[in-house]
């Protein structure tokens, strides 16, 4: 089994190749079967590695030397340890469910086969990202998933808005990648290697290599990368726009897997982060700020997927918050449970959209619980899970994060609760507006409203079960559990030293407080959206704070003014200097006939060549001066 590790990422790649080449000739059923089959097979193969993984081993398989320079080399090889194995299970497991769901969701799309090809390619790159045994392979996967994300956001490319969303995701990710790449170069310079086995070898004395400043620099650069990929301030704006992609994509890439790559990166590099306390602090505040900031925006969004998108940003923030607090296991635990319930919520939302003939505005829904009973139940489960009602998965993982916050300081604890209560409020707002109250849908949509086919409801059911029981992965000792996940991860991820221990009674008390507050928040939402049957105002009618939130704090406009416009201006300015208009006229004149040509040529005679020669001569003088005077 262990010799077959290479096969796990190869299967989806094979799927991509077959589907990509046969996209035109394969019947849809066949394509869906291949697409799903590859992921299921990869999942089963991953499960097959359970034996050695559970006994605490780390498996590795070196395939060949990827690159060799005069003074460095990088291998192409895989490494499966407890951390990457769990990631692989999430990727292939949740991935397989979403593939099955897509078979139903995308059934009528004319580019159905391409969709599966891209999804398979995505899974390949994601597996490469978590399975690679060095940072360069991680980066290759990192770029690859970004590319697939770009392709899938813009999947319905006939819509220009969608293309812009894809482009934005791309830009933001590029900024992040730049940071990550520089971090990698710095790592290579300092340590002379990018292989985990050399960097993080047992007993390796990293501190001997550099000062705290070095580690702080490397980790900060990594965080820039992580912020891009995992949609943290200031690079989060792409994720809500990315909802333009088909809903299964939002579930797989923009909720369960790709966006968690940043957390994986931090966990993978814990040895660095531990030596950079400043970065951990940055991480903590960054995560907390993102969490609250995104949650407030979520309060005023009216697109069912946008609400979920901001909720994802907010939850990812919570994970970074936990990482910053040193609660690494809790962060990873939340990553796993979040993959379950957020995938569930997205797929549920997809089922709603599917049933409502493409409607996404929650103001045009309502009372759908009778029309879409199965979807309603699973959506309810997902909402309860994310809101943090015991014993659902989200409660357990979030509680462990909040507990870690309390250990740090009660203020952080309070802020953390604030973020999670906001989440509870907008999630129930969503639930109530969509499934309860009076129907506000137009007749046409309502007539055609229907429950989704089995291929869609089945994955929903599985994810619903996982959202209920996922919490038992790391059930707290307080409630008779044994922190299984924590013990399981211990060969790779070691929790930071606890500041001070919390007594059982305090722990019970905090837990009770959180649950009580959550229930109170649900009641508030109930009051507003069911008892008073409030319906969100039209965007144009929003005012004051509501308008600011509805317009997402105008961050997009701000970025446009601060970054996009100046770059364009710089490029245009350079254009005037370095690419004289004379020649532009010449270039563009091809179609405009003889008049343009003659005038262009006149301009050449006017001295374009003369100008060039002059610049050349000047340049030579400049070089002489540079070389011999300074």
């Amino acid at each position: 089994m262990e010799n077959l590790i290479w096969l796990i990422p190869t299967l989806p790649l094979l799927g991509f190749t077959v589907l990509g080449l046969g996209a035109r000739s394969l019947p849809k059923g066949m394509a869906a079967f291949i697409g799903c089959g590859m992921i299921v097979a990869a999942f089963l193969l991953s499960v097959g590695l359970a034996g050695p993984i559970f006994s605490g081993e780390s498996l590795s398989q070196d395939l060949f030397t990827w690159m060799r320079g005069s003074r460095w080399s990088v291998n192409f090889g895989f490494q499966v340890d407890q951390l990457s194995w769990m990631m692989m299970l999430v990727i292939t497991g949740v991935g397989a469910l979403i593939h099955v769901y897509s078979a139903g969701y995308m059934h009528d799309d004319e580019r159905h086969n391409y969709f599966f090809a891209y999804l398979n390619l995505f899974v390949f790159f994601m597996l490469l990202l978590v399975m690679g045994n060095n940072y360069l392979l991680l980066f290759a996967g990192w770029e690859g998933v970004g590319l697939c994300s770009y392709l899938l956001i813009g999947f319905w490319f006939s819509n220009n808005e969608y293309n812009d969303a894809a482009k934005k995701a791309f830009v933001m990710n590029r900024v992040g990648d730049l940071g990550f790449l520089l971090g990698l170069f710095l790592t290579l310079t300092v340590f002379g290697s990018l292989n985990y086995s050399e960097l993080f070898a047992e007993g390796a004395d990293l501190e001997a290599y550099g000062s705290t400043a070095i580690f702080t620099a490397i980790t900060l650069l990594f965080i820039v990368g992580a912020a891009g990929k995992s949609a943290q301030i200031p690079l989060y704006t792409w994720l809500p726009d990315a909802m333009a992609g088909p809903t299964p994509v939002s579930a797989l890439i923009h909720a369960a897997t790709m966006v968690t790559a940043g957390i994986y990166l931090v966990l993978r590099s814990l040895a660095f982060f531990e030596l950079a306390p400043f970065t951990l602090n940055v991480l903590m505040w960054l995560g907390l700020a993102t969490s609250i900031f995104a949650a407030t925006i979520g309060l005023k969004q009216n697109d069912i997927k946008k609400v979920l998108a901001y909720s994802t940003v907010s939850q990812l923030g919570l994970m970074f918050f936990a990482l910053g607090l040193g609660a690494y296991v809790a962060a990873f635990f939340h990553l796993v449970t979040h993959a379950f319930f957020k995938a569930l919520l997205f797929l549920g939302a997809g089922s709603v959209i599917h049933g409502m003939s493409g409607e996404q505005d929650i103001r045009k829904m309502g009372a759908l619980r009778k029309v879409l009973p199965v979807t309603f139940i699973v959506f309810l489960i997902g909402t309860l899970a994310i809101a943090g009602i015991p014993p659902f998965a989200g409660f357990v993982s979030k509680d462990q994060i909040l507990l870690a916050a309390y250990e740090h300081s009660p203020v952080l604890f309070a802020l953390g609760i604030g973020a999670s209560l906001l989440t509870t409020f907008y999630m129930f707002r969503l639930l109530f507006l969509v499934f309860y109250g009076q129907s506000r849908a137009d007749h046409h949509a309502l007539e055609h409203a229907h429950e989704s086919p089995l291929s869609m409801t089945l994955p929903l059911g599985v994810l619903a079960v996982l959202s209920v029981v996922g919490g038992f992965l790391n059930w707290p000792g307080l409630m008779g559990g044994n922190f299984w996940l924590q013990n399981y991860l211990s060969p790779v991820v070691k929790e930071a030293e606890k500041h001070h221990h919390i007594s059982h009674s305090t722990e019970w008390g905090l837990m009770g407080l959180v649950v009580a507050l959550v229930l109170a928040t649900i009641f508030l939402a109930y009051q507003k959206y069911i008892s008073k049957a409030a319906v969100p105002a039209e965007d144009a009618n929003e005012a004051g704070v509501g308008k600011v939130l509805n317009q997402k704090y105008y961050v997009d406009e701000l970025y446009d003014a601060v970054f996009v416009k100046p770059t364009q201006a710089l490029s245009a300015w350079l254009g005037r200097i370095f690419d004289p208009k004379i020649l532009d006229g010449l270039v563009n004149g091809t179609g405009t006939g003889l008049v343009a040509f003659s005038s262009a040529i006149r301009k050449i005679q006017d001295g374009a060549v003369g100008i060039y020669l002059f610049i050349f001569a000047f340049g030579i003088l400049l070089l002489l001066a540079f070389q011999f005077l300074f």
Binding site: G20, A23, F64, T65, W66, M67, R68, G69, S70, R71, W72, F76, L136, F139, A140, E143, G144, L147, Y150, G154, F157, N163, A166, K167, F170, R174, V175, D177, L178, L181, L182, F185, L188, T189, T567, L570, S571, A572, L574, G575, F578, D579, L586, V587, N588, I601, I604, V609, Y612, L613, I615, F616, F618, G619, I620, L623, L624, F626, Q627, F628
Partner: protein, 462 residues
């Protein structure tokens, strides 16, 4: 040595073919000759590590490697030129002959061990290019490109000659070995005669011009834009490979230890070149002009390889040049197809390509991804290797600039990709089929993928 002979003879024969109007034979004959040149280049007898002909030429591993890349890329360009020259009535034999002569010049340049031979090589490389740039006789833009290239090229040649004269004046020899021992006879390069140093710099200026690096890059967008597309891609790939190879030969074999003196200058110029190239490429609507500026930007990355030349192999540069050439050839091939069917060479003209030609789109996408440096394609490996070497030489600031630049580059490469996926207003376009065209493109594309995942196929051979 053999490939120089083979291609020279083939070039002359090709001109005969033109004279006897045997148009149909021209391309197969030239392809055959190019293949023969490629093969003969790899013969063991071709190798020698002491200079031949009174110390003029040396076909060591370095020259053989560069020659192999140049001939291979020429071969692909010649195959693809079939589409372009399908309807060309006259002078086909002459045009092919000029291609071959130009490659011969390139090989002489990278193999030369004497400044005179060196100069002859650079001229044999350039003069056919001047003519080729203007070869589309009925197109004013092409005429203008040829003339402009010629004027500016001669201007720079004058400086290069002056440089050679100054070097000769101080050393008393044209021979690389003699010049090298002259440099070695001084303890530090500070003590070298001023005239010598100025001479060397003037020779380097010619290279900076040939590789279209700042501040002598102005000519290249205009000339590239005006030249026929097939010629343009030849200039951007083969001619540049020759220029880089020649520059290395000069820096390494001729001035040796002194080359470190120019590291800072090269670093600054590299930073300038890539920044200008990328920023300018951002605002281009014409695909050809975009590729021209991208060529400028890539010259910037490649120049990073000139830094700290003394203790590193030049493999990385050649690898980068090879994968850059392949990607460029693919892009131009797609451009030609689109131009033919749409009549427009703008990026927007690519719209609808995906609907009518998915395979071609696939090739274009991979080429763009490689140019943009996205792993695991070959372009990434090339950039990464060059960046790492620069970091090792202590030029971290340059790598930061280069990394920022490579991000900038991604934007316009992706604009091209995106356009190919957008639906066309007038529906899918029909493109006539040309024998072997797609096959060659797919092979090139696969090469990008394979070289990216197994770069040691390249690095390991030598």
């Amino acid at each position: 040595m053999y490939p120089i002979i083979v291609l020279s003879v083939a070039g002359i024969l090709s001109m005969f073919i033109g004279a006897f109007k045997l148009k149909k034979v021209a391309l197969p004959a030239v392809l055959l000759a190019t293949l023969a040149a490629f093969g003969s280049n790899l013969l063991p007898q071709n190798f020698n590590d002491t200079p031949l002909y009174s110390g003029m030429l040396q076909f060591d591993w370095f020259s053989i490697r560069y020659a192999a890349v140049m001939i291979a890329v020429t071969l692909v360009i010649l195959i693809l030129s079939r589409r372009y020259y399908r309807d060309a009535a006259e002078h086909l034999g002459d045009i092919y002959a000029l291609f071959l002569f130009s490659v011969v010049g390139g090989m002489i340049m990278v193999g030369s061990m004497n400044l005179v031979m060196f100069f002859v090589g650079i001229e044999i490389l350039s003069i056919p290019l001047y003519i080729l740039a203007a070869s589309e006789r009925n197109n004013l833009l092409s005429n203008e490109a040829g003339l402009k290239y010629f004027l500016l090229g001669s201007f720079i040649t004058v400086f290069m000659l002056l440089g050679i004269v100054l070097v000769y004046g101080t050393v008393g020899s044209f021979d690389f070995d003699a010049i090298n021992s002259f440099v070695h006879s001084y303890n530090s390069s500070d003590e070298l005669p001023m005239l010598f140093k100025v001479g060397v710099l003037l020779i380097l200026v010619a290279f900076i011009f040939k590789i279209s690096a700042a501040p002598f890059h102005f000519w290249s967008p205009d000339v590239y834009q005006g030249s026929p597309a097939v010629i343009m891609v030849f200039m951007a790939t083969v001619a540049k490979t020759a220029a880089f190879g020649g520059a290395y030969r000069f820096l390494d074999a001729c001035i040796g230890p002194m080359s470190d003196d120019f590291s800072v200058m090269f670093a600054v110029l590299a930073a300038l070149t890539m920044s200008i190239g990328n920023l300018m490429a951002l605002r281009q609507d014409s695909l050809k002009r975009l590729l021209a500026f991208s060529s400028v930007a890539n010259a910037g990355y490649l120049m990073m390889g000139f830094i700290g030349l003394n203790e590193k192999p030049t493999d990385t540069t050649l690898y980068y040049m090879l994968v850059y050439s392949i990607a460029n050839v693919i892009a131009i091939a797609v451009y030609l197809t689109v131009k033919e069917s749409q009549g427009s060479g703008s990026i927007a003209g690519l719209r609808g390509l995906y609907q009518s030609k998915p395979l071609l789109t696939f090739c274009l996408v991979l080429a763009m991804l490689s140019l943009a440096g996205i792993p695991p394609l070959a372009g990434f490996v090339g950039k990464y290797a060059i960046f790492v070497e620069a970091i090792r030489d202590g030029y971290a600031w340059l790598v930061v600039i280069a990394a920022i630049n490579s991000v900038l580059g991604i934007f316009y490469y992706f604009r091209v990709m995106r356009a190919a996926f957008e639906p066309a207003e007038g529906g899918p376009v029909q493109v006539p089929y040309v024998l072997g065209y797609s096959a060659v493109l797919v092979m090139c594309t696969l090469a990008l993928l394979v070289l990216g995942i197994f770069p040691n196929l390249f690095f390991g051979i030598w």
